[in-house]
Amino acid sequence: MMKAYIRSAITISPQKTFNSPAFLNDLVEYNSNRLTSIEPDYSEAIDPRLIRRMSRIIKMSVASALACLKDAGIASPDAIVTGTAYGCLEDTGIFLTNMVQEDEEPVTPVAFVQSTHNTIGAQVALLIKCSRYNNTFVSGGASFENALLDAMMLLSENNAANVLVGGMDEITDMSHIVLSRLCLYKRQLVSNLNLFNINSKGTINGEGAAFFLLKNIPSANDLACIDAVATLYKPNDVAEIQQYIHSFLVSQSISYSDIDLLIFGNNGDSKNDEIYTQLQQSVFNGTPSINYKHLCGEYPTSTAFATWLGANIIKNNNIPIALDYQETSKNKINKVLIYNHYQNIYHSLILLSSC
């Protein structure tokens, strides 16, 4: 598959990442097991008459998507592809609650209409009057990766010259309560900036929306390019993951030493992070690495944030000091490999490189 060139990348996240000229130079600290996105004034980006119906995830996503298109100088892309595990959860909750409260009598339709997972892709398309290819992938912790693969295939097969692709998920009060009951999150108050120094069960909940404008040809304005994306479902053991990584690198004709930086999906959960530790002590021994989930929290499409992070690191050839990167090497960062797993079910690799 051919490379996809990232012309622009925009994210709204729990960090100051939207409309911020600085690149993560001032991390936001949360003393909670829940990281909430820092939302901008949407009225500058979205028609106020339309905002009234939009839930938080729709506003975050639409604002990111429109800003991404604006940055790339593209009014209407050839395709819009989104990936989300939970979809528009807030509207789903409102709709289901209304149904119960009204004893299954007809209920207000807007929450239902906007509760579907493809609402975001549709809202973006409606706003920019784009009636071309529009697809949404809902595949748990591989939702964003599958959206990315679809976008890259569209570019490779010349079905599109540019694709707007995004990954997004939101926390709602209800989802946080339900997922907390499943013991996914830490029970004690914890600083996100101290996440990896606490050896305990559970992670911190997160959310965000990230959009990318991918092109099939390079330009001087590209942040980075996506060389390849691969996913692995429910591996039996670490040996299978190691083999999967090895095969991935062989398919890209690169070796471990070609990777300048690893972005790992450690989330502070001792059991979850054991896999990363084992890989760091084996196949990735000696390869510089950083984590990212202390910035955005854990959620199924967090690799969209990691892709934004990796692309900006390559573009700036700089790892923000706040990320506590210990390596002193000043060499150019040409290749960044993102490795993440979500609950040891969905594993993925995203290889980024400088253009």
């Binding site: 106020p48 008459r49 009234r52 119906r53 009204e102 009598e105 007809p106 207000t108 339709p109 807007v110």
Partner: protein
């Protein structure tokens, strides 16, 4: 009738999440759609559900909808007339 229209304005403001329009800004005879309040087809569905939930009334004939949802006053007249019929 005035009390009913005031209630309707409040319900419209809340149900339709009108952020830049307050209930006191809505005129009794101001058109709800188009150049008036600027409501759209999704709002019609919201108003139909509002009538059903708050006043137990259905707009059974779609063509009546154009008249019923013309303004706050026409909605109030519809509610008054049909409440009487139902009692």
């Amino acid at each position: 009738m005035d009390e009913l229209m005031a209630d309707l304005k409040e319900q419209i403001e809340v149900q339709l999440k009108l952020k830049n329009i307050k209930r006191e800004d809505i005129g009794n005879d101001q058109p709800l759609f188009g150049e008036g309040l600027g409501l759209d087809s999704l709002d019609v569905l919201e108003l139909i559900v509002l009538l059903k939930q708050q006043y137990k009334l259905r707009v059974s004939n779609p063509e009546d909808g154009l008249k019923v949802f013309r303004s706050v006053r026409t909605m109030a007249e519809f509610i008054t007339a049909n409440r009487v019929q139902n009692t």
